[in-house]
């Protein structure tokens, strides 16, 4: 789950990373009450989780005279479709130099990958493409509680040594918060010291519970409803509802629909050991999407019992056609139950997908 900038900055500050002085406001009037604590010139930063926020008009310069009016304007806008509900009003920094510091989970080394560049302030992906040597990298095993000093020296190069301390603190944040990404872009030097001008923190979805986070904000309402039942659910744009077990099989079903020029309405993985109740909920959830005209249920039973799946489909009692492909434990019993009720049961996933694509044509 992504933290918003002000949340990430709070975490960073708690771990000894200097951040600019700022206040979070939820309305323009609220800013009026805080003006005393801000310098004459400050920045208003929309707290929205979108990339390229600055270019999209989410960051505005302001001062004590026009601040409230500027905040009012910003509250009235949407940034790349996301309405502005919170603004971080922050002191304006006199930037001397910009750096970039990042720590992420690296799939290939299975360690924490630390990146640092003295050439911050540019698009980091462009820099990585055009001058990869400008970005220094180091890999740290999570068995290490600290980044070793030699690595810090190599990473920061000619940057002030406070940058090394900040990298060390960023690694502490990374470990404490179960982060998959902790990033400062830019890290800036100013006449009054070094600051994390922006802050990015993404916490592992599998660690939300032990991080004391009860709800994953990154999900839509239907996705959250699906999560309650233990489903993985993604909304797409199409008219063929898809229910499968296992992410790979469900994805392969979507790919086959695409191959035969159909359009899937969703991705729903019921998970392992899907019982009657869960299958019923899954079918009802997908049938509730207005664009869905036909549903394909593609279940390959490892530990899934086909008879239970069949009963779940029948119990759901939905109006759309359901095309079923079932294989696995108690397969024959499941087939019999479905045939009795007149459902179309096909032997392979390819046949089932073709039938579904034809049904909506």
């Amino acid at each position: 789950m992504k933290f918003l900038e002000h949340e990430a900055k709070l975490v960073f500050a708690d771990n000894g990373i200097p951040v600019p002085h700022g206040v979070l406001i939820r309305s323009a009037d609220e800013l009026a009450g805080h003006l005393d604590t801000l310098p004459f010139e400050f920045v208003l930063k929309a707290q929205v989780d979108v990339g390229g926020r600055g270019k999209a008009g989410g960051i505005l310069m302001a001062d004590k005279k026009n601040g409230v009016a500027t905040a009012r304007d910003l509250f009235g806008t949407t940034i790349k479709g996301v309405p502005v509900r919170e603004i971080l009003a922050e002191e304006r920094l006199e930037i001397l130099h910009e750096y970039f510091a990042s720590i992420a989970v690296d799939r290939s080394t299975k360690e924490a990958l630390i990146l640092f560049t003295e050439e911050g302030g540019v698009d980091i992906e462009t820099l990585a493409r055009e001058r990869p040597s400008a970005i220094r990298r180091a890999s740290v095993s999570l068995l290490m509680t600290e980044i070793p000093p030699f690595m810090l020296r190599d990473l920061i190069g000619k940057a002030p040594k406070e940058a090394g301390k900040i990298l060390q603190s960023l690694y502490t944040v990374f470990r404490r918060k179960d982060a998959v990404l902790a990033e400062i872009n830019p890290l800036v030097t100013t006449p009054s010291g070094i600051f994390a001008a922006d802050a990015k923190l993404i916490v592992d979805d599998n660690a939300l519970k032990r991080q004391g986070i009860s709800q994953n904000r990154d999900l839509t309402e239907r996705e959250r409803e699906a999560e309650k039942h233990g489903f993985s659910y993604v909304e797409l744009i199409g008219n063929i509802g898809v229910i499968g077990n296992g992410a790979g099989l469900t994805m392969a079903t979507l790919d086959l629909i695409d191959f035969f020029d159909g359009k899937a309405a969703n991705f729903l993985d019921v998970g392992g050991g899907a019982d009657q109740e869960r299958v019923k909920h899954a079918v009802q959830l997908v049938a509730g999407v207005p664009s869905v005209r036909v549903i394909i249920v593609n279940l390959l039973g490892g530990i899934t019992r086909c008879d239970e799946v069949a009963r779940g489909i029948i119990d759901a009692g939905i109006s759309q056609e359901v095309i079923v492909r079932l294989a696995g434990t108690n397969e024959e019993e499941g087939k019999c139950l479905l045939m009795e009720k007149g459902y179309r049961m096909l032997d392979s996933m390819e046949q089932a997908v073709r039938a579904a694509v034809e049904a909506v044509r």
């Binding site: 592992d204 099989l249 790919d255 390819e350």
Partner: protein
């Protein structure tokens, strides 16, 4: 056969849970049918002295191996404690820890894999169906009735999609040497290249299928690392970017690892890539 043969004793951790108990029975049924050793002990802290499906339960792996001959563990422990179970397996000297558990926090996985490596213990998974060498050994939850013995190796990031493809192979008369589900998480123990290295030393295996997904670059890394004849199928060509398809493995990160560019890179390495599962048997026949 790679990783373990029929003589290997198996320890199941998380033995007294619903899943653990269910699969102890299935693994032992498989072992009985082929004359293998099967599950010799279960482990659940605090439940030592019980018996599950005729298998004695111990409080720790150390206690279990004091009384039983075992080389590998299969882990069904809930997510919060599964990393610990991997480390316990490694510390006790087991050579392989097959981690079925899903939703393990990724930091736990990274620590457990690093620790296991220090103790020369290979980790398969997490979030995987385990492995099955037809006629030799079943470690995990794969439905054995779909498999047949032969000389095709299969390495897969998925569970059920693997069964789908194994089913296609068996129906086409193409038996398997070993089928390994390496797991769907972003960070996993044994990767495509690690398993391919084992297949290279296995006389039984003549060709290998890589079943990949969107996300990361482990498939390409594996393809580059081997001289064995290989073919691939990559799921997720229709997946929209930045959407998480089911589990952590299947997410495209900033344009990296999307299915189309992955397939392109594999084809550049002259690896045949099937555009749907039903094409795989035909492609494999050409490799043999």
């Amino acid at each position: 056969m790679i990783y373990a043969d029929k003589s290997a004793g198996i320890i199941v951790t998380g033995a007294t849970g619903r899943q653990g108990a269910f699969h102890i029975a299935l693994m032992n049924e498989y072992a009985r049918n082929i004359g293998g050793t099967g599950v010799v002990a279960g482990v659940t802290p605090g439940k030592g002295g019980q018996e599950i499906c005729g298998v004695p339960v111990y409080n720790s792996i150390r206690d279990a191996i004091a009384e039983c001959d075992a080389e590998v563990s299969v882990i069904f422990v809930p997510a919060g404690a599964a990393g610990d179970s991997v480390m316990e397996s490694a510390s006790a000297g087991l050579s392989l820890a097959v981690t079925i558990t899903e939703h393990i926090p990724v930091h736990d996985t990274m620590k457990a894999i690093a620790y296991a490596k220090l103790h020369d213990c290979a980790v398969i998974g997490p979030n995987c169906p385990g492995l099955l060498s037809p006629g030799e050994i079943k470690l995990g939850i794969m439905p054995a009735h779909l498999f047949s013995r032969g000389n095709i190796g299969v390495i897969s990031r998925s569970g059920t999609l693997t069964y789908e493809i194994v089913d296609e192979l068996t129906k086409a008369g193409l038996g398997q040497s070993t089928v390994v589900g390496i797991g769907g998480d972003p960070v996993i123990g044994q990767t495509f290249s690690d398993v391919l290295r084992r297949f290279e030393e296995d006389d039984q295996t003549k060709a290998v299928i890589l079943i990949g997904e969107v996300g990361g670059a482990l498939e390409e890394e594996g393809a580059r690392s081997t001289d064995l004849p290989i073919a691939a199928y990559i799921a997720g060509i229709s997946a929209p970017p930045e959407k998480r398809m089911g589990h952590a493995g299947a997410i495209i990160e900033g344009g990296e690892g999307d299915a189309r560019s992955k397939i392109e890179r594999l084809r550049k390495m002259e690896v045949p890539v099937a555009s749907r599962p039903s094409e795989i048997p035909g492609i494999i026949r050409k490799l043999l």
